[in-house]
Subunit: 135 residues, 2 copies
DNA sequence: ATTCTAGTTTATAATTATTCTAAAGAGAAA
DNA sequence: TTTCTCTTTAGAATAATTATAAACTAGAAT
């Protein structure tokens, strides 16, 4: 991913490309594989990877702006921390309850044959399949 | 559900049947339909329904003891609060993002045709289907 | 280039959900 | 009853997240 794309992601999220934001965006999006993180893990990774210092609030704000703009998705995981995913395509997850790790499942790997119709005046927004793993 | 069953539920959860615990158990299990709640909503409902006073810690402890004993299940919902479900059979959920309400889906209503196999030495513990609703 | 202004970063405080603690209270056994 | 252990309770502690306010920049206007 080129720097120009990073700027696009920032602008489309309503964010001015500041030093911190560019570093966060590059860290999140300039990679081959998608990945999962929590605010805490991202904070630690950024601290290792870069020389800049980041206030937690900045990370929260930036990540949420990306999420609201659709550049990141949020994953439901039992537990206190919120997980984010740079994979924003329609897909599903394994969750390893031992290592607390998320593993992507491509949408094509799951085929649902039957699903109930939405109640009263509601519509189905999306279907998430979450597969818990044990040893 | 008779009182004797309430006592069984408490005993099997490693809890002595004290006044507070009996009231919580009766409120949760002496009903026809299963239902969903958070600690906060349960606290309010108990305050309305009964004359006893309950410390939040007591509700947390009792609910978690029931959960650990398998008399309640925990449901993943995006958001801060933890939802519990008195329906402990294998089933799925609609989640109404407007009203923040959970709606049960019977396991028979969902048929999954294809699912990936678990990675390396892992096994599949369970599969949760979560259907987000919009208006 | 310099200045100006609105948007940002940061440290810290506030908030919210949850868990812990220590003292007072209540079952159960002798 | 009397003791002993388990409970309840109020409030403190913890942890994730959000809000605040002052110091600081990016980008526009000059």
């Amino acid at each position: 991913m080129k720097k120009i794309d990073i700027f696009k992601k920032l602008r489309s999220s309503g964010l001015r490309p500041t030093k911190q934001r560019v570093e966060i965006a590059k860290f999140l999006f300039e990679r081959d594989k998608t990945f999962h993180f929590t605010i805490e893990s991202l904070d630690k990774l950024l601290a290792k990877k870069t020389t800049s210092r980041f206030a937690l609030a900045t990370i929260y704000n930036t990540v949420h702006a990306f999420k609201n703009a659709g550049h990141l998705s949020e994953v439901d995981v039992r537990g206190k921390k919120t997980y984010f995913d740079t994979n924003i395509t329609n897909h599903h997850h394994f969750y390893d309850n031992e290592t607390l790790e998320l593993i992507d499942i491509d949408a094509s790997e799951v085929v649902i044959q039957k699903i109930p119709k939405a109640p009263n005046g509601k519509k189905i927004k999306n279907v998430e399949v979450f597969i818990n793993l044990k040893n």
